[in-house]
Structures are given as C-alpha cells and as structure tokens.
Assembly symmetry: C2
Homo-oligomer: 361 residues x 2
C-alpha cells in the first residue's frame, strides 16, 4: 500500500486519488483491449470514443454553448501566447493586455512579436491596484481582443469580476482556474487552459473559442497553432497527447460526479479561507494582497523571519506536507489548492502552520 | 491479472510490458514522494534529476557527441516541420527536401510557408525509385539544409543508407526509427523524433542538434519553437510534458539493459524478415516495395482478395492480434514492429497469417 502525502505543488499539480487509482488499474489493459491507452492509435475507434466523451463532458460541466469550438491542443499554454495573436490580430494588429502578474506579462511579451500590444493596466508595487483602478484602465478603441489572466499563480492575485470590454472579444488564460472558478463562457471570445493544474498530466491545452471569433490566421502561423486547421482535423492534425486527453476525460467525469464546477468553486473559497485565516491571525505569517484580490487557488505567504524558511520546509516534509516552497521570484511559501487537493490536506497544513508558530514564534 | 494482447499499433505504439509495470507500480507514489510523477512540479529537484538522467541515458545509447544539444520539446514531431525552417532557413531561404512518403511530403509543405523548398527526389508509382535513382537527385547549390525521412511508416519505405549532402547539414525525421536503427549522430545537423513510437506517450519530441548548426530563428518564430530559447531554459521554457519525459527515461534505461540500439536494430531485421518471408512465400499476400527499400519497422501488406480484409481483422482480433489495419491511404494491413513489439507477438502474427491463408486461400 502506497503512502500518499499532502501535495501543494504549483503544477503539474495534485490529481484526485480516485483518478490515479483508475489510471493504475487499467494501465496494462484499457477497455479490455489488452494494451494501455498510451499504446492505442489515436485513430482507433475506442480512443475516438474517449476523445469525444471528453469533449462532451467538458461541454456539460462548463455549460459550453454550441457556438463554441472545443480544441485539444498539443503543448503547454505558453504556445497559446503566440497562437492567439497569430490567429486573431491579423486585421487591425492591435491587442489589449492586462498585465497583472508573471503569466499575463509573458503573454504580452510574446504577442509583441506579432502585433501592437497596448497595456490596459499593470501590476504595481501594491500588487493589485492595476485591477482595482478601473477608472484608469486604458482600453484601445480598436483592439482585436482584450487579454487577461483571471488568476495569477505566482503572486496569488485574482480578478474578482470579469472585466467589461464593451464588445471587444475577451481572451482569458484560465490555466490555473478552469473547473475551479465558475465562469459564464458566453462572456468570452476565447478561453484557454493548460491541463497540468486541474485536468491532466502536462502537455496539452484546451481552447474554447467562439465560432464568429475564429479569424484568418497570419500566413506564417505554424499549422499546429492554427485554430481553423486544428478544428478541421477535430484536434488531430497529427498525433495528439492521447494520455493527457484520456486523463482529462476522467477528471471531467470526476468533477461532474462531485457536484460540478460550482461545488469546486465553493470548496476553493472554503479551503483558501482556512489558510488566509491562519495567516491573518498572526504577525508570524503574512500575505500582502488586499482581501478583494486574493487568489482562492494559490495562497502565497511569508514567514516574518525568512531565516526560518528552510526549517519550515523541513518540518513540513516530516509532517507529509510537500511542494510548499514559494516561486523563486517571490520567495517564502506558496500553497496551491487545486481541485486535487482535498480539505484534509488543507487542514493538515493549517494545523502544521499553527504548531510551527507555537514552536518557533 | 490483466491479459495483454499482441499490439501492432502504428502509434502511439506498444511499450515494453516491464516499463508499463513500473509506471503502474509507482503511479501513486513515485520516488517515495507520496505522489505521482504526474503531480510533481518540473522545478522540483527529484524531477530535475529524472530529466537530466533521461538526457544522459539518451546520450549514452545513441553515442551523442558533446557538441550536440539534446532538447525535449512539447508537442508532436509535426511542430518541427515548422520549427526547422523557422530556425534554420533565415539566411538563404532555400531548403532541400526528399519527398519519399506522406511524412516528408507534409514536412515539405509546411516548410513552404517559410522558405523556398526544392524537392530533391519524389516518390513515384513504384514507391521507392526516388530513393534509388541517385543520379537524378537534384540537390541545390545553396541549401540551408537537406531534409529526409529515413523510414516512411505508411508505405513502409526506408532509405538503406544516409544520403550524401556534400557538407550541407542533414536534417532527419527519426520519429519512427529512433532507437531502432543505428545511426552515427555525427552525420546529421539535426535529428528529431516524436516520442510516441519508440519512447513514451505521445506529446513530446526529442531534438538533437549540432551546436554550430544552431542559427538565429526568424523574428516571427514562436518562443516555444525557438531552439536557442528552449536550450537556454534547459527544455523548460514553460511546463514540459513531464510524464512523457519520465517514461522516456525508463525506455532509455530499458534499451541500455537490452543490448542498446545495435541489439534493437538486429531484432528489427529479424522481426520484419519473418513477416516478409510469409508475405513473399505466397500470392495470397503482397508487399510491392523492392526488398532493398523495405522498412524493417512498418510492414504493410495486402491480401490478394481485399474483400477478405474485414474477416482477416476479425479473426486476428480473436487471436489476440490488434491494431493491424493499414493506413487509410494505402488500405490493406500494416504491422508496426516498434521496440515494444516482441518476437512472440511477431511469431503469433506470422502463424496467424499462414493459418488464415490455409482457411481462406
């Protein structure tokens, strides 16, 4: 019997144990084929069935309207940082970007290769005021799209509401919040999400794009980043990452079974609140993000005395708490609370934090 | 106890059962972490260790000289069809392509977006003469590189030798023959291979590129297709397909343990010879490729009476023989004999073919 630990990895992130058990149990013999899903041709009817089921399950749990395409693309979400301007900025060559953290900044930087990037709002030292000062947002008059990142994983910042774009298609990088925060797909021109946080093993990105937003890609757009081509081949212009696709389907079923995205969202508030409560109740720990803009998924925090960091990590390890170290740009700690992280794990961390403070505070 | 069948999938292809068993056994608890490798951050020291081990093991089994970089890239090999001209055809904008089958033709078509493509030789109706007629090859005087596909999976054609390019860097798509045919890496400017045939689950591509061939990518090359950037970040400019990388390491260890690439090559000749022998000994089956250019990996064949095809597949299934149907462009049957397909499986297929002929010939 294998011993599981409490895993707060920022990604690739924890998966629900029931899903891992199913993967393990059918690893040598999937659907009575006598081989693994990893060993199946993507053209085989049994795999096609799984692929189509995955799309339908995702449509169900996210209530994706029929005028949106769902694409399963190879590679991580950073490929989309190029694909989006390559597909959509052809006509007027202007795009608006909210830069509220590391990920949206990277996206804006990559887009600058292909179009004029207008920064609508930028993170400043208070780390959230860019989102807060709506009256200072500088939306272009003729942007092809507006890009934003609802949840920034490194600094733990979220947009509390979907930004108003006055009819310009909104593009959202939901890598870290898909299936964990509840969005109305109708508000977006395009949603994309790398699968490695809340869905499946790293190496695939889901793209949900509105029919009428599908535009002509630039002439030098690689075929595998061209949404029209990917759609034409039903996400199989070449061999897709079949194993990730298969696990995605298991995850979609799991979300459905456990109350859907609304239940996941409610649980995310509850889990993160528990940690923020511990952090806010003392000067021993701190998180400087204003409560309105705090992520309900990634909870970064600092110990008041950073020389205690190594000891904190070491003692956490002894208590079965893993992958808690903060991003190198922020230092300190970070607990990522993706859907695969259950309440038991969060309770264990909260208790450990209190006990650590008692010993070393 | 799960029952394994004889799996001749064209890809994603069969993996050695020992590897699958190890994946299964550590699926919930990898390296005593208390979580799966799928749930590990790629920045974690335990994963970095695996990633570096994989590179070293590949260097060992392919004898990769130190003046070559080894990159683990996200996505399938078709991404490289764009990446190669985007990285290397910047200066003179000319590239030479051998078009000897579906895959090299796709590569040439994608390259035409970025440079002038000169077709050195083309497959004709005899399906191999393009390779055979060396005196008719039309190599450019100033090509940035020469591209070829040593093994074409659909029609089952191979280059019996590495083509002479008179100093122009040679680029090879080894997706279907890496670790199965023995090449001297020094003969190439760049080798690339999607992992889904002989290495790991689909969704990653290995690129082996000579230092001095590394050139300045075109300005509109997406960052994740830019070899200099990928190399700078040690193949982690973003979250890489960690699970495929982990399995790749297991495969490299397995190849090492089983005699290395030379042993795999010898076995490939033996396995394919067994099937060609059955095919050539009768008019009931046929394969029209000249013996000099026959693939030792993918063995396509036709039944003389194609109305028997569905029955052949049905009876094969009953005998535990799976994924034997030919590519839609060729019809008939195809047995793909990747390293994960052992001699027992090939013997079972050969015996079945003889018995089927006896019943229905």
């Amino acid at each position: 019997m294998s011993k599981r630990t409490y895993n707060f990895s920022p990604g690739p992130a924890a998966l629900p144990v029931e899903i891992l058990e199913q993967i393990r149990d059918e690893l040598l013999d999937w659907k009575d084929c006598g081989y693994s899903v990893m060993e199946s041709s993507h053209r085989d009817s049994k795999f096609i069935e799984t692929a189509e089921e995955a799309e339908q399950n995702l449509r169900d749990i996210m209530s994706i309207p029929s005028n949106y395409k769902v694409l399963f693309c190879a590679g991580g979400a950073s490929f989309q940082f190029a694909a989006i301007p390559l597909n959509f900025s052809g006509k007027n060559k202007n795009a608006d970007y909210f830069c509220t953290g590391i990920w949206s900044e990277k996206a804006a930087k990559e887009a600058q290769r292909y179009c004029n990037v207008n920064i609508v709002a930028k993170t400043d030292s208070a780390q959230f005021m860019g989102i807060a000062r709506k009256e200072q947002w500088q939306l272009s008059k003729e942007a092809a799209y507006v890009f934003y990142t609802p949840n920034e994983t490194v600094s733990g910042i979220r947009f509390p509401t979907v930004p108003e774009t006055h009819g310009v298609p909104l593009v959202a990088d939901m890598t870290s919040c898909i299936l964990q925060e509840d969005f109305d797909v109708n508000q977006f021109g395009l949603i994309f999400a790398g699968v490695q946080k809340n869905i499946a093993p790293a190496g695939m990105t889901i793209v949900i794009v509105r029919d009428d937003f599908m535009d002509q890609a630039m002439s030098f757009c690689p075929s595998l980043l061209n949404y029209k081509i990917i759609d034409e081949y039903k996400s199989m212009p070449n061999t897709p990452p079949t194993f990730s696709w298969y696990v995605a389907n298991l995850t979609f079923q799991w979300v459905k079974k456990h109350g859907g995205v609304k239940a996941m969202e409610a649980l995310s508030y509850k889990k993160s609140a528990k940690l923020y409560e511990v952090i806010d109740s003392t000067d021993f720990y701190s998180n400087k993000i204003h409560f309105k803009y705090r992520s309900v998924i990634n909870v970064p925090f600092h110990l008041h005395d950073s020389t205690l960091d190594p000891l904190f990590i070491q003692e956490a390890e002894k208590n079965g708490i893993r992958q808690i170290k903060g991003h190198k740009s922020e230092g300190g700690m970070r607990a990522s609370l993706y859907n695969g992280v259950n309440e038991e794990a969060v309770n264990a961390l909260a208790e450990f934090m209190k006990a650590f403070e008692k010993r070393h505070g």
